[in-house]
C-alpha cells in the first residue's frame, strides 16, 4: 500500500520487470517481441516452402520435412504471429482510446500473454524433439490421429495452452471496454478500433472453446486411447472438421476485424475527416461478427453434408459480402474530398483496400458450392486466403505498428524507410499470390511437395517464389527501420500525427497510469472535438486524486510454466509412463500458483496526489 514506483536500473531489474509486469503497455511490447519473433519463424518456413516449389521435381527439402514446414507455417502465422500482434495493438490502444487508467484484469492480461508464449514455445520445441506436426494447420482426422511420432501431440498441447491465453485476453478486453470507459465515452462515440476489438473479443469468447474441445478430443484420442475419430471403434472424424471450423471460421474474422477498425481510424486521421457512415460501420462490424459464426461449413462443401446444408452455408457466406462492401465504400467516401496525407500507415491502408477486395472476390467464387468442387484443395484456395490474410491482416499490422509506434516507444519510425519497405512487400505480395489463383484453376493441388514438369506450372511457381523473396526484402527493410529508429531514439510529442482519438491526448509513451485525470469525452473523435471547439486539450472529468495501481506479479509466469512442463509430461507418458510424474509436477506448479493467488491479498498500491503533481512516473 505504498507509493512504490522507484525505478530500478540494470538488465536483470529490467528483465524482472517485464517478467512480472501487469502494465498493458508493457504487455503490448511483450506481445510485439514474441509475436514478431514467431512472424519471422513462420516467414522463414514460408520461404523454404516457396524455394522447394521454385522448379519442378525439386529436391530442396524432403517430403516429410515439407509437410512439417507447411503445417508449422500455417499454425505459426495464425496462432503465434497474427493473434499476438493483434493483441499488441489492442493492448496499446484500447485502454487509451476509451480513457481508461488500466485494463479490467491486469493480472489476467499478463497470464494471457505468458500462456500464449509458453504454448508457442512448446509447439516449436517439436522441431528439436523428433519432428514438428505434419498434418496441416487444420490437423484433419484421421491424418492427424494416425500421424506417427509426437509432432501432432505438440500441436495439440501447444495450441491448447496458447488458446487458453487468447480466451483470457478476449474476456479482459470485453470487460475493459464495457466497464472502464471514461465519462461521456458512450458506445456510439467509441473509435472504430475499440468497437472492432469489442466484437472481436465476443468472437474469441464464443469461438475458442470449440477449439478447446476439439483439441481435448484429439488429445484423448492420441494420448489416452479414446475413439472419437476412429471409425473402426465407432468414432467419426467429421466431428473434428465441425469443431475445428466452428472455431476456425470465426478465427479469420477475429484476425481481420480489429484491423478493419484500425483502417477506419487511420483513414479518418490522415484524410482529416470524420469517418463516413460511422454508425453503418459499427453495424457492419457487428453483422460481420455475427455472420462469421454462421458459415463454418463452407469449408466442408466437399465433405458430403448434402445439397441443402451446402446451399444454406453458401448463401450465408455470400451475405458477408454486403457488410464488407459497406465498409469498403465508407472508407472510400471518407477519403473523398479529404485532405489526404500519404504517410506510411495510410499507404498500407490504401494498398489494403484493393488487395482485400480482390481476396473478397475469390471468396465469393469459393462460396458458390457447386463451383467449389472445382477449386477445393487447389492453389486457388491458397491464393484466396493469403489475399485476405496478408492483404488484410499483415498490411494492417504494418500500418498499425507504424501508426502506434510513437505511442508505444516515444519514437517515430522513419517515413522514407517505411515506404522503402512497403513497395517490395506490396509488389511481392501480388506477384506471389495473384498467380496462384491461376495455378489453382489449372489444377495444381495445395499442400503438394512437388509438381511435375511439362504441365504448364513452371512459370507460375517461379513468379510466385520470386514474389516471396520481394516480401522477405520488404520485411527486412522494416526490421532495419525498427533497429535504426530504436538506436536513434528521437523523442516525439504526444500527438505526432495530428490525430483525432484519446490515446493521442497524453504523452508518448504514456505514464504507467495513463491518464493523470480521467478525461471528459464530448463527442466522437474526442481529441479532435477539443481541437476544434476547445483549447486542444481534454477537459478532466474529475479532480486530481490518488491513483490506484495493481502490483506486479510473477504468478502468471509460474502458472504458464507449470502447464508447459505438464505438456511434455502428457506427450511423453505414451512412451514411458514415468513421464506422468512430469505431468503431475507441472499441474501441481500451476494449481499451487493459483492457490497462492487465491489466498494472498493483492490490493495494489496508490500513487498519491502530491506525487502526481510533481510529475511522478511520467518519465
Amino acid at each position: 500500500m505504498s507509493t512504490a514506483y522507484a525505478q530500478k536500473n540494470g538488465f536483470f531489474a529490467g528483465l524482472w520487470d517485464y517478467l512480472t509486469t501487469v502494465d498493458h503497455k508493457k504487455i503490448a511490447i511483450l506481445y510485439l517481441i514474441a509475436g514478431g519473433f514467431f512472424f519471422l519463424v513462420g516467414g522463414i518456413e514460408a520461404m523454404l516452402i516457396r524455394i522447394q516449389l521454385i522448379q519442378p521435381d525439386n529436391e530442396f527439402v524432403s517430403a516429410g520435412l515439407y509437410n512439417q514446414l507447411l503445417t508449422m507455417h500455417g499454425t505459426t502465422m495464425i496462432f503465434l504471429a497474427a493473434m499476438p500482434l493483434i493483441f499488441t495493438l489492442m493492448n496499446i490502444a484500447v485502454p487509451l482510446q476509451i480513457g481508461a487508467r488500466d485494463v479490467a484484469f491486469p493480472f489476467l492480461n499478463s497470464l494471457g500473454f505468458w500462456l500464449f508464449f509458453f504454448g508457442g514455445v512448446l509447439l516449436n520445441c517439436s522441431w528439436f524433439m523428433g519432428g514438428a506436426p505434419d498434418a496441416g494447420w487444420t490437423a484433419y482426422a484421421p491424418l492427424s490421429t494416425t500421424s506417427p511420432g509426437h509432432g501432432v501431440d505438440f500441436y495439440v498441447m501447444g495450441l491448447q495452452i496458447s488458446g487458453a491465453g487468447t480466451l483470457i485476453g478476449g474476456i479482459n478486453f470485453l470487460v475493459t471496454i464495457i466497464n472502464m470507459r471514461a465519462p461521456g465515452m458512450t458506445y456510439m462515440r467509441m473509435p472504430l478500433f475499440t468497437w472492432s476489438s469489442l466484437v472481436t473479443s465476443v468472437l474469441i469468447l464464443f469461438a475458442f472453446p470449440a477449439l478447446t474441445v476439439g483439441l481435448f478430443l484429439m488429445m484423448f484420442d492420441r494420448l489416452f486411447g479414446a475413439n472419437f475419430f476412429d471409425p473402426s471403434m465407432g468414432g467419426n472424424h467429421v466431428i473434428w472438421e465441425h469443431l475445428f471450423w466452428i472455431f476456425g471460421h470465426p478465427e479469420v474474422y477475429i484476425l481481420v476485424l480489429p484491423l478493419f477498425g484500425l483502417f477506419s481510424d487511420i483513414i479518418s486521421t490522415f484524410s482529416k475527416k470524420r469517418l463516413f457512415g460511422y454508425s453503418a460501420m459499427v453495424f457492419a462490424t457487428v453483422l460481420i461478427g455475427f455472420l462469421g459464426f454462421m458459415v463454418w461449413a463452407h469449408h466442408m462443401f466437399t465433405t458430403g453434408l448434402g445439397p441443402v446444408a451446402n446451399s444454406i452455408f453458401a448463401i450465408a457466406t455470400m451475405a458477408i459480402a454486403v457488410p464488407t462492401g459497406i465498409k469498403i465504400f465508407n472508407w472510400l467516401f471518407t477519403m473523398w474530398g479529404g485532405s489526404i496525407r500519404m504517410t506510411v500507415p495510410m499507404l498500407w491502408t490504401v494498398a489494403f483496400i484493393p488487395s482485400f477486395t480482390l481476396g473478397g472476390f475469390g471468396g465469393v467464387m469459393l462460396a458458390a458450392a457447386a463451383a467449389d468442387y472445382q477449386y477445393h484443395d487447389t492453389y486457388f484456395v491458397v491464393a484466396h486466403f493469403h489475399y485476405v490474410i496478408v492483404g488484410g491482416v499483415v498490411f494492417g499490422l504494418f500500418a498499425g505498428l507504424t501508426y502506434w509506434w510513437p505511442k508505444m516507444f516515444g519514437t517515430m519510425l522513419n517515413e522514407k524507410m517505411g515506404k522503402l519497405a512497403f513497395w517490395p512487400f506490396f509488389v511481392g505480395f501480388h506477384l506471389t499470390f495473384f498467380i496462384q489463383h491461376f495455378l489453382g484453376l489449372m489444377g495444381m493441388p495445395r499442400r503438394y511437395w512437388k509438381f511435375q514438369p511439362d504441365q504448364g506450372l513452371e512459370i507460375g511457381n517461379l513468379v510466385s517464389t520470386l514474389g516471396a523473396f520481394l516480401m522477405a526484402i520488404g520485411t527486412i527493410i522494416f526490421l532495419i527501420n525498427v533497429v535504426m529508429t530504436t538506436m536513434k531514439g528521437e523523442k516525439v510529442s504526444g500527438d505526432p500525427w495530428d490525430a483525432r482519438t484519446l490515446e493521442w491526448s497524453i504523452p508518448s509513451p504514456p505514464p504507467f497510469y495513463n491518464f493523470t485525470q480521467t478525461p471528459l469525452v464530448r463527442g466522437l473523435d474526442a481529441l479532435w472535438v477539443e481541437k476544434r471547439h476547445g483549447n486542444g486539450k481534454m477537459t478532466p472529468a474529475e479532480p486530481l486524486g490518488d491513483i490506484h495501481m495493481p502490483n506486479n506479479s510473477f504468478i502468471p509466469f509460474m502458472m504458464s510454466l507449470g502447464l508447459f512442463i505438464a505438456g511434455f509430461g502428457f506427450i511423453y507418458q505414451v512412451d514411458d509412463s514415468s513421464f506422468l510424474i512430469l505431468a503431475i509436477a507441472g499441474m501441481a506448479i500451476t494449481l499451487l500458483s493459483m492457490f497462492v493467488r487465491s489466498v494472498k491479498d493483492d490490493l495494489g498500491y496508490h500513487i498519491h496526489k502530491e506525487d502526481l503533481e510533481k510529475g511522478a512516473g511520467s518519465e
Binding site: 476439439g214 481435448f216 484423448f220 489416452f224 465407432g234 466452428i246
Partner: protein
C-alpha cells in the same frame, strides 16, 4: 482497492450489494458472466459430440441397458439442493451476515462432495460390472468426456469454495472477498444447470432411446 475495503462489513451497514460495490467487483462480476458464456460453448461442443456418438457402443451395452435412473435421480436431487443452499449463502451475504453465509457455503460443499462421491461410484460400477470404459467404444469416450468434464468442474468448484471458506474464516465479509464468494456461487449454479442438461440428454434420452 484500499484498506477500507478490507474492513469487515457488519449487518445494518450499507452497501446492499457488496459484490458490486467496487469497480474490481463489478469487473469480476461481468467478466465471470462472460467466462460462463465461453463455458457454455465448451459444454455445447461436448454435448454435440456426445449426441453424434451415443449410439456407437459397438459390442458394449447400449445406453438404455447401462444407465440406472435411481442413482442418477438421487445425484440430481443432491446437486439441485446444493444450488439452493448456495442461494441461501448469497442471501446471507446480502444481509452482511458472514457466519450464516459461511455455514450455507459449507453445506453446499458437503452436498457437492456427496454428489462427486456418487459419481465416482457410478463410474466404478460401469467400468467393473459393465465393461463400459473410456476406450471401449466411441460411446464410452464421449460419455466419460462429457460427464467427466462436468465432474472435473464440480471437483474444481469444491476446491475453490473450500479455499474461500478457510481463507476468510477469521476475517469476515469485506468488499474484497464478497465478489469472490459471489462468482463462486455463480459457478456453482452453472455446474448445476449443466447437470440438468446431462440428466436430460444423457440419462433420460439414453433410457428412452
Amino acid at each position: 482497492m484500499s484498506a477500507e475495503e478490507l474492513k469487515q462489513l457488519k449487518p445494518g451497514q450499507s452497501p446492499h450489494e457488496p459484490e458490486k460495490a467496487t469497480l474490481e467487483g463489478k469487473n469480476k462480476f461481468l467478466g465471470f458472466w462472460f467466462f460462463l458464456g465461453g463455458e457454455t460453448v465448451l459444454f455445447a461442443s461436448l454435448f454435440g459430440t456426445y449426441l453424434a456418438l451415443k449410439d456407437s457402443n459397438l459390442d458394449g451395452k447400449p445406453a438404455e441397458e447401462l444407465f440406472g435412473l435411481e442413482l442418477v435421480f438421487i445425484m440430481t436431487m443432491i446437486l439441485l439442493t446444493s444450488s439452493l443452499t448456495s442461494v441461501y449463502a448469497i442471501y446471507h451475504m446480502k444481509n452482511l451476515d458472514f457466519q450464516k453465509m459461511q455455514l450455507w457455503m459449507g453445506i453446499t460443499v458437503l452436498l457437492g462432495l456427496s454428489f462427486l462421491g456418487l459419481e465416482i461410484f457410478e463410474f466404478y460400477e460401469y467400468v467393473h460390472h459393465d465393461g463400459h470404459t473410456f476406450t471401449s467404444s466411441a460411446f464410452g469416450s464421449a460419455f466419460y468426456t462429457l460427464v467427466g468434464f462436468h465432474g472435473a468442474h464440480v471437483a474444481f468448484g469444491l476446491l475453490w469454495i473450500v479455499t474461500l471458506i478457510i481463507r476468510n474464516a477469521r476475517r469476515g465479509l469485506n468488499l474484497y472477498n464478497a465478489p469472490k464468494y459471489y462468482v463462486a456461487s455463480l459457478y456453482w449454479h452453472f455446474i448445476d444447470v449443466v447437470w440438468v442438461f446431462i440428466f436430460t440428454v444423457v440419462y433420460l434420452m439414453g433410457k428412452v432411446g
